[in-house]
Amino acid sequence: MSLFTRFFLRNRRYDDISVSIREHIDERIDELMEDGRSREEAERIARRDFGNVTLIQERSREVWQWQRLESLLVDLKHVCRRLRRSPAFAVTVVLTLAIGIGANTAVFSVLNSVLLRPLPYPDPQQLVSLRLTAPGAPGLAEFRDELRMSPSMYLTFAAHNRSFQTMGVWLPGTAGITGLAKPEQVNTALITDGVLQTLGVPAIAGQLLTAADQDPRGAQRVMLSYGYWQRRFGGDPNIVGRIINVDSQPRQIAGVMPRGFKIVNYDFDLLVPLAFDPVKEILAGFAYHGIARLRPDITISQADSDAARLINVWMHSWTNGPHTDPFFYKTWKITPALQPLKQAVVGSIGNLLWVVMGTIGVVMLIACTNVANLLMVRADARQQELAVRSALGAGRWRIARELLVESLTLGLLGGAVGVAIAYAGLRLLTAIGPENLPRLSEISLDGRSVAFTLILSLLSGLLFGSLPLLRYVPSLRGAQLGAMRTASLSRERQRGRNLLVVAQVAMALVLLISAVLMIRTFIAMRNVDPGFSAPASLQVMRISIPETLVRDPQTVLRTQNSIQDELAAIPGISSAGFAASVPMSGAEPNWDMIFIEGKKYTSEELPMRLFNYVSPGYFHTAGTRMIAGRDFAWTDIYGLRPVGILSENLARELWGSPQAAIGKYFREFPSMPWHEVVGVVQDVRENGISQVSPATVYWPSLMGNLYGPGPLDARRTVYFAMRTNRAGTQALISEIQQAVWSVNSNLAVASISTMQDIYGESMARTSFTLVMLAIAGTMALALGILGIYGVISYAVSQRRREIGIRMALGAKKSALAWMFVRSALVLTGLGVAVGLGAAAALMRLMRALLFGVSPLDPVTFIAVPIALAAAAVLASYLPARRTAAVDPVEALRAE
């Protein structure tokens, strides 16, 4: 039977019942009138004899109903009617809850998408990141928390491992695409065979790159990302097999990867095969990310010990060239530390997300206590009504159920509005797109988020609903009709509210302290000298000159020199320069140890130094101060003079002072000529404001070749920096583009931004945390103050009689007001005491997010409670002042 016919039939049954009953009464009336009674009398008797028509009708109807559900619906109807009658209350509660639930849902969705949801690859639990650490290579940790893999390591691992189904290494890079429209720089992922096979996602067109593409003399095709295929080729279905010029080398397109596919966390345009030549590889070259798919029966620790064995094999199989010690790397203590790929993707953001989730959860708790408070006041007002109903025979459960239905309805309404708020918030978040939030594109409101919201709504409804319930329902037993002024009863009720206020103050204090600590972190970071000046007027861009375009390193340098000159000639640009890496740009660092002249090295534990390669004028342009000595000159560079510039911390470490370092000599390894220190520059926060400045060696941008073939080695990918007041304007960017093309029309400009943007991104994590905590702290403060205000003003209204008596007995008005303020201060004091303890314990967890301020910063821990107490005084003084308006005569006469 369909639902419709069932309802139809039921309505007919209801008609039958009422017709029968009506006829029953009418017939009885007729009979009574035949006995000689008047119509009125007959009607009265008939109705009296019949009993309660509505009740009998309802009982008869109930036979046809799903009883529980429908009586719930009736409850619901009552609740809605009541809420409509007090819209201010309903709107306040629903909005409070909606904001709380919305914020929680939004943060949970982020947490769920980033941390909880599995990676979008088949059998993601088998995927691992081939992470290695090298605790014996001091200084490495200053710019890398791991040791990446070298090509020779990859070749060894791939050939001899016993733990992986497949494995591969990859590296992010860029390439110039020419021959399509304008020359264009695209993001590439350089991958070996095994990377795509490990991730296990099939192509949507064509086929995956294979081992054949890895042959240095082989086909070497490329694959497109879905986005690049759509953007540049309009989703052309016949794309497979077409030829494009990648870094001036023609390559065939093998296939297209599906939408949203990333290499681990990297969003690429083009997949380019790596083609290592085993004949030319050496031990070194630690630049590659390794990933693998474990065999189903292998655990990570088993794979770790397999990798440890492979590292041994690797050291036996390769060298760094003649006269080098292949077992030198033993001193580095290279240790496998494989981790689930998800952990590698998520990184350190997990910690932050849990902190934010906890914070928002606390705000939700405060919101719930406020709502509970409101409901208690409301239940107070309804006390009489409930008592009357209870006296008329409404069961306690019946009343409790109705109160619960009311609070659950409020919770669900808040949840519904909250989902809308969360949805809007997430749209906003993905639109802003914080750079360092992994898996951003995967963030969405999914079933789990909605389930979370539902559970949260119901739980909060139960929480704030049961508090008034516990208070009122037991007291309904002895119906206290009219016994409404029993002092002890209202005092007990007041105690419940007081407890809520103490809890609120404590939670607000914790949030405020964490917010203030973040503010102090932010200020501390702003005060750090990053090693460059006025980032807003520093324009930065990246240009790569591939070997296929310009073969000769000397010509590369000349091209870069010409670009620098052309840029400096643009009106409004006061100076220009270039370097292999600008601070916080995320460029792959180069690093090694250095030896200084005249020192005997017995210990092999030499620290690693960061290497950078700069042009004359770069330091001046970036605003990096010369501490001693001089900058490079073009003659140094073209003349291949053995000179170098050191960072201040490195100069101090090696020779005691920047001045003492000038004229001293150092080199990277014995076959290199001694290089003279000609200058010392200030330290640069290379990896972000909150990271230490690494000890850095700045080399000339053209040097004798020490690694590969050919006599010279130039930096082919460099960042140009320009000092200009026009930084970031569209007009300037097109002039820059023209200047570059005037030197070589095949060059593309990439990563154009101002240093301010790069700087801002490196602060993004702190600013994001700051904003979240500040919002949460402000909400908590506002809710806490409202709580105090509510409790005191309610206490004042409840104690009017007492105030009247006290006034009649001669109490001063100010003393009476103080009495209330004092009680608020006692509550605040208790809350502060609890909150300080909790904050001291919790702030330790935030240590990783703080910079330049202790988690137990005394200023914060003293100032915040004082501010909170001041707010409490204000919040209680306003209602306490109303005691002055109490007229003792009226107050006493009132009852």
């Binding site: 039958d16 019942i17 006829e23 009418d26 017939e27 007729d30 009998i56 009982r59």
Partner: protein, 114 residues
């Protein structure tokens, strides 16, 4: 709310049997049914409206009765109840079990009195 304190409550199922038996003789509407039972029992039994109408609905739902539109003696619209085959079968079964029960109770009472 018993109308007459001297009356005792019916045991479960008794009301249904009386309704079915009465309607077997003649399909009736609700008021006529009340009157009929009162008259036949010589006013010893009085059916409460509060039990009758829900009981009628229960029996409709069980499929023991069916209902049709009709008119009362005064020509007003009402609903006439009549037993179904299932209802009559139910009546037979219940009567048989009642008779057994009465026989049992009677024997016990007689033995106790002897």
């Amino acid at each position: 709310m018993a109308k007459n304190p001297e009356q005792r409550g019916l045991f479960p199922g008794a009301l249904e049997i009386m309704i079915l038996q009465s309607l077997r003789l003649r399909p009736m509407h609700g008021y006529a049914l009340v009157r009929h039972i009162q008259r036949v029992s010589d006013d010893l039994l009085q059916v409460e409206e509060g039990s009758l109408y829900p009981a009628l609905q229960r029996m409709l739902k069980e499929g023991w009765l069916e209902v049709e539109a009709g008119t009362s003696a005064k020509g007003r619209p009402t609903r006439i109840f009549r037993p179904t085959d299932a209802g009559l079968r139910h009546l037979e079964q219940e009567m048989a079990s009642f008779e057994k029960m009465f026989a049992g109770i009677t024997r016990v009472l007689v033995a106790a009195g002897a």
